[in-house]
């Protein structure tokens, strides 16, 4: 009886040693990748892939543990016909195996993005190691590989730096981070296009900064939204948080007044009338006045009314020009007009959806209505 139990135990133990450990890899044998850059190579068939690998000893270290000097990361680059080929070449320079699970940011150069990103993303979507919450950004006016070499004084690695940079900008409605997962959603639909955050180098080429967003048509980068356009775009998409808008004072000398968005909703009403497409956009927003460089007396209700009318007009004009830009120049339905038509006119939509962005979206007539209220004027009423 005891022998039987012993044999069962022994067999179980043998089973463990046979089955186990096949993908056991100690974390000290893995190279944690923080960010990946994708560039086009000189040879158009090739990709230039760069990875930023974290050096843990230089990042972590509490009391008693001496943090080592130097950059907290190392960069490796390699060319390849495919992404995976390039990754293999990178591994030839590495003593540890690449660990992609913790990658936070994928930086794609603007030229590569202009040629289409669907094919290059395939590797990341296919490998079980990657996470689909990787943020995707477009590198503007500099190769993507340049960005992963920049040292950030506050953050340790580029991945974290870019993630926090975008998150910080999102609060101010100056950009909207997009994950690989969301990007996949856009790419799988023909009637809508993604807008991807853009980073660029500062004038001294030593730091990086967020700069608006990049507009895609399907999977190709077709143009840019500057900071102001991004703000209006996010307001139109109901994604605005603390948008800062500046307008000219309508009374007195033409000096600027700044407002911050308190809350805003944009509602869409699609109409199909006699074969013509019409989109009625209604923006309702409440703003707080945070700064004025004039001497307007804000205690008078009429003043606030004039101010809000001025602001509403500006928003309306900006929105109209932004929609016109998307319609005429980019032909890219970044506002999801299609989904509103789809919901209200499912029958008509069936005929339009194949060529929505190229054919129908530019033809949509847009009416913008903006209602602005100024509820708050800060802690002081009267200017000095």
């Amino acid at each position: 009886m005891m022998l039987k139990y012993f044999l069962i135990l022994a067999q179980t133990m043998i089973l463990f040693s046979i089955v186990g450990c096949w993908d056991a890899l100690d974390i000290s044998r893995q190279a944690i990748v923080s960010a990946i850059s994708l560039d086009e190579a000189e040879d158009p068939d090739q990709l230039l892939v760069g990875v930023q690998v974290i050096i843990p000893q230089k990042v972590a270290g509490g009391l008693g543990q001496q943090r080592q000097e130097g950059e907290p990361f190392a960069n490796y680059f390699a060319h390849g016909k495919t992404w995976s080929e390039a990754m293999r070449k990178i591994e030839t320079q590495l003593t540890r195996s690449l660990f992609l699970d913790k990658t936070r940011v994928l930086i794609i150069s603007q030229h590569l993005a202009a040629n289409g990103i669907a094919d290059v993303l395939d590797f990341l979507l296919r490998t079980p190691q990657s996470r689909h919450r990787i943020l995707v950004v477009i590198a503007k006016e500099a190769p993507a590989s340049r960005f992963i070499t920049i040292v950030h004084p506050l953050e340790k690695e580029t991945g974290a730096a870019l993630e926090f940079l975008l998150a910080n900008q999102e609060i101010h409605s100056q950009t909207k981070p997009i994950s690989l997962q969301e990007l996949m959603g856009y790419l799988s639909e023909k009637s809508v296009s993604p807008v991807v955050p853009v980073v660029t180098l500062t004038a001294d080429k030593k730091k990086l900064q967020a700069e608006g967003m990049g507009v895609f048509r399907h999977d190709r980068l077709v143009g840019w939204l500057n900071q102001k356009q991004t703000q209006i775009y996010l307001l139109l998409r109901n994604k605005a948080i603390h948008t800062l808008l500046t307008t000219q004072a309508p009374i007195g000398p033409p000096k600027p007044v700044s407002f911050i968005l308190e809350r805003g909703t944009t509602s869409y009403e699609p109409v199909i009338r006699e074969g013509r497409l019409l989109m009625q956009i209604k923006i309702d927003a409440v703003f707080e006045l945070i700064e004025q460089r004039t001497v307007i007396d804000l205690t008078k209700p009429e003043t606030l009314k004039t101010l809000s009318a001025r602001l509403a007009l500006q928003i309306k004009e900006d929105a109209q020009s932004l929609v016109a830009l998307a319609q005429s120049e980019y032909q890219s339905d970044i506002f999801h007009f299609g989904s509103y038509f789809h919901r209200k006119y499912p029958e008509e939509w069936r005929q339009m959806k194949e060529n929505w962005q190229e054919e129908f979206f530019p033809m949509v007539e847009v009416q913008v209505e903006a209602n602005v209220d100024i509820y708050y004027t800060g802690k002081t009423n009267r200017p000095f």
Partner: protein, 537 residues
Amino acid sequence: MKIRRPRIVKHLLPASKPAHGPGETVRHEGSYHPQDDTLSYSLEQNIRLLKDLFGNVSDLMVRNLEITPTEVTGAVVWIDSLVDTKIISDHVLRPLISLKTRDQVEGIGLPTLLEFKNSITAAGTFESASMQQVVAGLLDGKAVVFMDQSLQAFLITAPGFRERSVEEPVTEVVVRGSREGFTESLKTNTGLVRKRLKTPHLRVETLVLGRQTNTRVNLLYLANIANPSVVAEARDRISRIQVDGVIESGYIEEMIEDAPFTLFPTIDNTERPDTLVAQLLEGRVGIMIDGTPFALTAPVVFWQYLQSSEDYYLRYPMASFIRILRYMAFLASLLLPSFYVAAVTFHQEMIPTPLLIATAAAREGVPFPPVLEALLMELTFEALREAGVRMPRPIGQAVSIVGALILGEAAIAAGIVSSSMVITVAGTAIASFVIPSPDAAIATRLLRFPMLLLAGTIGLFGILWGTIFMHIHLCTLRSFGVPYLSPVFPTNYAGIKDIFIRVPHWAMRSRPESVLWRKSRRQSPDTGPPHPPRNGG
């Protein structure tokens, strides 16, 4: 007549057959097995029999009483080391000797049996005609008065050995609650329970266990609450024990538990009279053993090991919070090192990035794989703990200093173990200290190692495997017929009120059904939350 042991003293043995002659009745080996139990008419024979039986030990005292100048008509026998000689001299010897004097003055002759008995003023005095009882009485700290020409002897209770006084229990400390703990004396312990349970339904059955030690064991239960079949089962199991000695409750526990090959205890023990009373009130039986402050209780359920008596003394929100904390601590104590090992070996993507980087930095240059590191650290911790418990107190402190210095400082500085592993092991240790019952902590302490091996070889899958097997095992366990995981599995919703949280006392209306096997109320049906009168009355 062959005496079957253990026997229930409560039912005194009936007077046995006439004597064959005392000298032949004794076998001088091991213990006392008399062929014939009755005393002899001859005082001399009785004394000789006792002296032969005890082998003329120096502490067997015999004081002869000479009632007439020439004749020895009585004798007082006691074992000096067990008896309070002051009681003997004041309440036995002095009245007996003065009795003699009065008789001589008045010249009436020898005193009658009644006169003899009445002159003994000690409280615990009773007669016996059984040699066996006399011997048992002597060994139990009684003095025996023999009289010539009498088949009766008087046993006088005069225990004289030192007892520890009632002190605060060491193993189950509470902030709020009774400070009394059991002592080594069965009589004191029974009194501590009786004091709290003033009901005639409290039954105390005394059994004598141990062929050599003759240890008294008390079986306690509430006749109107406890399940009679559980009581009968407990009595039966205890009666079956036939060993040389019962020194501590652990001897009985291992002899009567349902599942002898499990790591999980199926009999609880307590050092606190209030805990025992609470258990009795829930229909459990208590087993108290002379010579140990630990009383056993059965049947038990698993959840009981994560409860403390203070849960019922603190207000219920705090008690519930502490209970939830204990469940988490139980899981942590069992699984924390395994989770750590599985995560750093197989599932790095599960760890948040900054923590992963910190862990990777800490593991840099550590010579052992995580599973080996964890095993080493856990074994070291267990060794330190054992050293700390067993060492005399001044040395124990040195042990902990050495342990803290070597493990906490030097080992990390030298890069032999990673700091994250030390944190994990320390967290596990703290969690295991949170478990109130040392018996349940033993299960987690031992199961931690197979879990570590599983985690180190097949990762989270192994932990899942181990946990499932542990659950299956727990589901098969029973304690005196009560499923070990009840009232959760099988589910009894009224019982769950007192498992994961503790509901207020006024909401705990029923007694635990899983223990009693029947529905019963412990409160009057209209008990509810207190309603103070408004407007001050």
